[in-house]
Symmetry: C2
Subunit: 441 residues, 2 copies
């Protein structure tokens, strides 16, 4: 770092190699600044496809690429694996673990968001969320193992226990997971087992609010629910989860047997927003102005899921296109500042949003255009392939999908790690009678 201050180049520190941070760094490639990206992981993850890894349709390496690979050949960009623990905004220093300080002239904080269990952090082990490659392989492990354990029980013990998958939260992640589990249960796995019929698995999608995909229009929400139900997903809106136990999900009046519980109900921003000393909202997002700066620091930018940016009186959503546009904007703004050009404000251009449901369904909302079913899914596929980072990944994802589509064989059905499921046996001993009868009926 000393070299850079000696050669007089402004030093830009980017925290986070997700969509926001990576686009900010790439936007500054071959410029007059020296960029260093810090991330705890060595890879950029294409989060919108994580659920495909969780459901064994893709391998981790299909949707993740080393950050180094993404910035390959950009001589003014360094990548450092490290954990940022705090800041000294007065002295313009980033504190890393192990008492290391890194100076900056411009700071871009793009540390993203993680699951929020609304104060019930003990639920994390029982109901993993889906934000990282590790989360995805853990969900894959649990889902596949549930089928294996049910097969074992049937073959060896002659028992047929309910095989329920409960997804908490019907935002895009919950809907995509529910649709994908339904697909593999009904289609992919149906010939793999002898003693159990995977098609008898129940997929239960719980939503606290009145409709699924609440960020979409009412007609698309209704369409999404219909498409989910066609796939066999049981959608329960206005249903609040009051507790999660091993093998059980409590929804107030009764308990639902659950072989695998997945959390898709809430996110909170990284704690680095608070560490900046910035004003934060209830989701820990840092308020930023129309230059994406926190108050009082024109050299500190916050972007992506960590930023609370309001446009037309409401906050922009925590989605990849917002993070990408913010990253691109900050790169341009820093270029303007170092070349003494006039500053310009950020504005988000909403190109529309899409959610996929199962193998060939989905919804899309592009301005006033509302698409449902296959057309929405085709649009989704096209857009996601275009955005995927790295030729190799795009090529392999396409092949993997093509093969899967033609053969109905899912490719990456590996169970790695432990062969235990929390509550696999305990859930039999409970008094979840209402649900038992339902499953038996």
């Amino acid at each position: 770092m000393e070299q850079d201050s000696q050669n007089g180049r402004p030093r830009v520190v980017v925290i986070g190699g997700g969509f926001g941070g990576l686009n900010a760094a790439l936007g500054l490639a071959n410029s007059e600044v020296q960029v260093t990206i810090f991330d705890r992981k060595n890879h950029h993850t294409f989060q919108p496809l994580l659920y495909q890894v969780a459901l064994a349709a893709l391998s981790p390496a299909d949707i993740a690429a080393p950050i180094r690979t993404a910035v390959h050949g950009k001589k003014n960009i360094d990548v450092v694996i490290g954990n940022v623990v705090g800041f000294d905004l007065e002295r313009r220093l980033v504190h890393l673990e192990e008492d290391l300080d890194v100076p900056y002239d411009y700071l871009i904080v793009a540390a993203g968001a993680t699951h929020s269990y609304f104060g019930h952090d003990d639920w994390a082990e029982l109901a993993p969320g889906l934000k990282t490659i590790e989360d995805a392989t853990e969900i894959r492990r649990r889902v596949l193992l549930a089928f294996e354990l049910a097969e074992r029980e049937s073959l060896i013990e002659g028992q047929h226990c309910p095989l329920n998958f409960v997804i908490v939260g019907a935002g895009p992640t919950g809907v995509e997971l529910a649709g994908a589990i339904a697909e593999i249960s009904k289609n992919v796995l149906k010939e793999d087992f002898r003693a159990i019929d995977p098609r008898r698995a129940r997929i239960i999608l719980l939503e606290g609010g009145p409709r699924v995909l609440p960020s979409y229009s009412a007609d698309l929400s209704a369409s999404a629910q219909r498409q989910l139900e066609q796939l066999g997903v049981e959608v329960r809106t206005n249903t609040m989860v009051t507790n999660i136990e091993p093998g059980l999900v409590d929804v107030g009046e009764h308990k639902i047997d659950s072989a695998v519980t997945i959390w898709a109900a809430g996110v909170k921003a990284s704690s680095l927003g608070k560490a900046l000393g910035a004003k934060i909202d209830r989701s820990c997002r840092a308020f930023v102005n129309d230059r994406l700066n926190i108050e009082g620091h024109t050299e500190v930018f916050v972007i992506g899921d960590l930023a609370r940016f309001e446009q037309n009186g409401k906050p922009v959503p925590g989605v990849a296109p917002v993070a990408i546009q913010m990253g691109q904007y900050v790169a341009e703004e820093i270029r303007r500042r170092v070349s003494n050009q006039p500053s310009k404000p950020f504005s988000y251009w909403d190109k529309g949003s899409m959610a996929t449901i199962g193998r060939t369904k989905g919804i899309a909302q592009i301005g006033k255009i509302h698409l449902s079913g296959f057309l929405a899914w085709a649009a989704w596929l096209f857009i996601h392939l275009i955005y995927l980072i790295g030729f190799r990944n795009r090529f392999f994802v396409l092949l993997s999908w093509g093969w899967q589509y033609l053969s109905w064989h899912s490719g990456a059905r590996l169970i790695t790690g432990s062969d235990r499921l929390p509550g696999w046996h305990s859930h039999r001993a409970t008094d979840a009678t209402e649900e038992r009868k339902k499953a038996a009926g």
Copy 2:
């Protein structure tokens, strides 16, 4: 299982879905017996290519396939994920965890082998071995992380510490790992880092005996050592490891700094050989006769790495072709017995053996034919692709290799899991002076 005893079909229990067990089960497909494969994992692993996963050239799903997929469509074969803990040979029962008993008429034990640390089990955490997909991703994590941590030290702290990779044991696994680490250091990673030069990494291969690949002829051993040295591997024969500490490997008189230590020095058979009550050798292998039966039990077969079978006065090696042939033989022998045909003895047909060194080198010994260099490597590639289970995998491995070969980009360089390395810092504080001087010189 009761069904099967009711319908009168002989019940064959296979323990282990590796090369031996899987070939035994497949050899009994569509026969008059009912087969159940038990494995702790849901997947068959193509162990000869594990080192390619460990060195990030292939993804786990490229070299592993669910056992269910491998026996897809064979109606008389069940697959059960479960942990076998013991046997009751008198009552012909297999004990599973959780107090479950499974009856059999024929038992095939193919539980394989694991690492042996020769009584130093505390070394396992410091020097992982390479037997499973989890092992491979752990080694991948450590190797890639070592380069990342070295880059961070150089960039932020201005320090240049030695970056040594120490592989203990110069059998096929150790030689393949050493060659592959040398290749990625010298070629694949060389443009990825700015502050460090990955080509300065030292790869040290320690062998207790007088030569590498001791199971090969002396001329091929010598050729292998030359090929390794051409790749930059430091080969040290007659070097016994006396202790392993975080960041250090003790070799008697001095200590070697080691960022990543990998164990390829010894294997021992599964404890299930002992659990059978059979006579076992020092590596815990169960002695079997020329029908691959243990003494006194013509209905109990032991095959693969768990079997101690002697031919021409010496034990056959623990390699995939032996396990495959044993599995095929046992299937045929059981078919003969249930149809009251005369029994035949097993004999191993040695088609030769091969080891690969780096990207385009290797050695091969096929009867009296000894190959070295590119020709050996090409033979190795061809044979391995042919044996890989599953069209999809073969297709993807070929593509992945082709792409890697053309582009020099390694495909699956993901670090998942923890961002710590045992002893990463402590090894600086040691008195490994001899090695320090050597590294500095």
